[in-house]
């Protein structure tokens, strides 16, 4: 599957969702759902390059990602709801990244960790995807080569704010 074929088009929200969003009852439920989701982010065990080392370091006892409920790295995309794209996404890997993303259940979020997955980084070449947002929607970008574990934790906190404010139930 060529990369051009799998570029994402923005999904339109359904009419039911729009109607429900306007009701008072569901605004409260949205807040509870957002609170529950943001405090139980389960990332996908998924490392592509050197950034993955820093991702692993963020779960170690010194940084302890578990304090934010995001320590359970799942080995299956079916059980994960956060994809941390940590490393260079080559053209050969891009269809796999896309397939893994599609195998994750909704709701799901993506953090592009490091220069390479954010914008392509130093590898401005035909073999490297210039930013993983060309194939999957990215919520938070983390600059750095690689970012510190603290920088990743900061990104996860920003994502938690975003989840709380997004107000989606479905």
């Amino acid at each position: 599957m060529a990369v051009e074929e799998i570029r994402l088009s923005r999904r339109e929200e359904g009419a039911l969702e729009r109607t429900l969003r306007q009701s008072i009852l569901f605004t409260t439920v949205e807040q509870v759902a957002g609170w529950a989701r943001k405090n139980s982010l389960w990332p996908l065990t998924f490392g592509l390059a050197c950034c993955a080392i820093e991702m692993m370091a963020s779960t170690d006892p010194r940084h302890d990602l578990a304090r934010f409920g995001a320590e359970v790295f799942r080995a299956s995309p079916r059980q994960a709801d956060l994809m941390i794209v940590s490393g260079t996404v080559t053209m050969k890997m891009a269809p796999v990244v896309r397939r893994l993303y599609e195998q994750m259940p909704e709701p799901k979020w993506v953090i592009a960790m490091g220069s390479c997955s954010s914008v392509g980084g130093p590898y401005n070449s035909y073999a490297v995807l210039q930013g993983v947002d060309q194939i999957i929607p990215v919520d938070i970008y983390v600059p750095g080569c690689p970012p510190r574990p603290e920088a990743l934790i900061y990104a996860i906190q920003k994502l938690q704010e975003k989840i709380q404010q997004s107000g989606r139930i479905f």
Partner: protein, 207 residues
């Protein structure tokens, strides 16, 4: 019995760890002290009189391995110059997404306009927001000139940072990098950092 004893041996190890010092850095509240030469977000400096140090020579953009810096230089207005040189950078855009924080731009800058700060919290929610402009990373005009020389020197007290001749600056820089005490300001860097034969050689050379 042969099965129960190993169980309690293991539990004893767990129990001992209850009384150890806590290892976790509570990151948002508590921060690890970064190394003195931590290389993160770029910062554009000003002269003590408030004028910008950058003269728009584009050496940083030329040396940047990821083309993260984009500059449009313009001639200074003689009545209201922005910098001390002939030109200044009208546009100084900096893509933190591309930047790999190698510090080549800081080394290339002939005006010492650039330093690297230990600010690493750069996560943004869009690609556009990762591109910072000159206004975002230039220190405000009222800020006293703290970092007159390269960011490497920011641990020196301010009185140690007079207007220096270029060659002296070069000597200091060399001294700092090699850990050699410089006659101007005593020890540039603690020589105890280094170990082994090389450190011994340096100590003999400088004592």
């Amino acid at each position: 019995m042969s099965r129960i004893v190993p169980l309690f041996q293991g539990l004893w190890v767990t129990f001992r760890h209850l009384f150890r010092r806590r290892f976790t850095i509570q990151y948002p509240e508590e921060r690890r002290e970064l190394p003195k030469r931590a290389r993160w977000l770029l910062n554009l400096q000003r002269h003590p009189d408030g004028k910008e140090r950058c003269v728009g020579c584009m050496l940083c953009a030329a040396i940047c391995p990821t083309e993260a810096i984009f500059i449009i230089a313009e001639e200074n207005d003689p009545d209201q110059p922005v910098s001390h040189g002939e030109r200044y950078a009208r546009v100084w855009d900096y893509d933190t997404g591309r930047c790999i924080f190698c510090g080549f731009c800081v080394e290339a800058c002939p005006e010492e306009a650039l330093i690297m700060t230990p600010i690493f919290e750069l996560a943004r929610d869009s690609r556009r927001k990762m591109i910072l402009h000159k206004e975002d990373i230039t220190v405000p005009p009222s800020t006293p000139p703290r970092h007159t020389w390269l960011g490497f020197y920011r641990e020196l007290p301010e009185e140690e940072l007079p207007v220096m001749e270029p060659y002296q600056k070069h000597l200091r820089y060399e001294a700092y990098l090699r850990g050699i005490p410089h006659p101007d300001h005593g020890e540039a860097r603690k020589i105890e950092f280094l170990e082994g034969e090389h450190a011994q050689h340096l100590r003999e050379k400088t004592s």
